[in-house]
């Protein structure tokens, strides 16, 4: 269905209900939809399952959701960081569930969800505690673990620019989880630096086709400034 252009981050995240599974793009700060996550914080939605590479840093965004005990479960590869104090406290207190997934399996499980793959055999994690209890198989002499798709009710991602049809481009390593999360979520909300007329993005260079994007909203960040400086955005 046609993409919706939301006038604010508040409206962009409206309708995310309690108990939702939320996919949050980003690797460190790069590509993290900080402003959308802030709006989710303000929305009051609780009992969330969050899929993200990390589990919140410092006193912002996901970390605050965790601090307020609005996140029941985190599915991620790397929760423990120097500034993950809110997660650390919730985890040690037994107030948050953690599903630890090797980073590549996390990406591939998201990809499988978007691609209609029912399950796949991956070599990553074979023979480790993270594969305990999972089905394994030897194929052509290599050992694999069976992993299942990871779907989201909603994805909150950050692109560099969108056109009015929801086609997205990204910037440098901020691309990271955005494209697979957009396809893995039932509803994808993207914050972008600019919204351009259809036809302004080169069809050869679109990374996420608009079919995967439901809501876009314009938010200015340092990414947009940098892109303007290098002439990639006007």
């Amino acid at each position: 269905m046609a993409v919706e252009i939301a006038p604010s981050t508040t409206e962009a995240v409206a309708g995310i209900g309690d108990g939702a599974t939320v996919l949050m793009g980003g690797f460190g700060n790069a590509g993290q939809a900080h402003e959308l996550i802030d709006a989710l914080l303000d929305s009051g939605a609780t009992d969330l399952t969050v899929v993200s590479n990390n589990a919140g840093q410092g006193d912002a965004g996901l970390a605050l959701l965790v601090k307020e005990r609005r996140v029941a479960k985190v599915i991620c590869s790397f929760p423990r960081q120097s500034d993950s104090w809110h997660f650390d406290e919730a985890y040690r207190g037994g107030e948050i569930e953690l599903e630890l997934v090797p980073q590549g399996n996390l990406a591939e499980r998201l990809r499988a969800a978007g691609a209609g793959i029912g399950a796949f055999f991956t070599p990553t994690g074979y023979g480790t505690t993270l594969a305990e209890g999972k089905e394994t198989r030897t194929i052509d002499g290599r050992n694999y673990v069976l992993e299942h798709p990871l779907r989201g009710d909603v994805a909150l991602i950050k692109g560099l620019a969108a056109d009015e049809q929801g086609n997205l481009i990204y910037r440098k390593t901020a691309r990271n989880f955005g494209p697979v999360m957009a396809a893995a979520a039932h509803r994808t909300v993207a914050q972008v630096e600019q919204i351009l007329p259809a036809g302004d993005l080169d069809p050869e260079n679109i990374i996420t086709p608009g079919i995967y994007v439901d809501v876009i909203t314009q938010v200015s960040t340092a990414s947009g400034e940098a892109a303007q400086k290098e002439g990639r955005l006007r």
């Binding site: 990809r111 978007g114 209609g116 009015e164 086609n167 259809a198 608009g210 079919i211 995967y212």
Partner: protein, 219 residues
């Protein structure tokens, strides 16, 4: 009684049933005609499984570009907002259920929504499947366009497929010269509902099919 629907009327019916803003794949042959009846206001985006969203009409003579073709290998054009992607991404898009509608031709459709459209099963024929099986399961709604009866008069909506299956339980609507059949599944059961009859009465259609048809014309 209404006259039977000709192919053009059928294409118009399908087009009118496609919700605004939909992403749609039109199969080779008869379904291609649907695009002639899509309006600009509908804002439908066409997918072609060889790697494109935002496909435009067939290319005019002076627009022909060997690198811009559709799944039927016909030169086409590009619309504003189009995007290109590789084959694995294109079929992931279908298999992942992101398209709203696929429109396909068929030899047979079963009461359970099983589809046969890739092979007649004739001995000695060289088999070829292309994207047929991917398309059959490749959208939220799979519409079939076909005549209700074969040339020998036998019905093409059947209790069980006699032709080799392309996909099971995948068809949601069948657009025929005698009317539009909705295949409604509830758990293990499915019902075939005829929206409105053309050329024959509902009773006459029921008589000629071995599948029980619910008269949906009043609803």
């Amino acid at each position: 009684m209404n006259d039977v629907l000709d192919r053009d009327q059928l294409a118009r019916l399908v087009a009118a049933d496609i919700a605004p803003g939909s992403y749609v794949n039109l199969g080779i042959g008869q379904p291609t005609k649907v695009s002639d009846h899509l309006t600009d206001e509908q804002g439908v985006t066409l997918h072609t499984e060889n790697g494109m969203l935002g496909m435009g009409p067939a290319a005019a003579e002076d627009e022909i570009d060997g690198d811009l073709i559709n799944a039927g290998k016909i030169p086409v054009t590009e619309q504003a907002g189009a995007s290109y992607f590789h084959h694995a991404d294109s079929f992931a898009m279908m298999r992942g259920g992101h398209l709203d509608v696929c429109v396909l031709g068929a030899f047979q459709v079963s009461a359970a929504g099983d589809l046969a459209n890739w092979s007649t099963g004739a001995p000695g024929a060289i088999p070829a499947v292309g994207g047929a099986m991917d398309l059959a399961i490749g959208a939220k709604d799979v519409f079939v366009m076909m005549s209700l009866f074969a040339k020998d008069g036998s019905p093409k909506i059947v209790p069980e497929l006699s032709y080799p299956a392309t996909g099971l339980g995948c068809v949601t609507r069948v657009y025929t010269d005698h009317g539009v059949f909705l295949i409604q599944r509830e758990g293990e059961e499915s019902h075939v509902v005829l929206r409105e009859a053309y050329g024959l009465s509902v009773a006459e259609i029921q008589e000629r099919l071995e599948v029980s048809v619910v008269d949906g014309s009043g609803s």
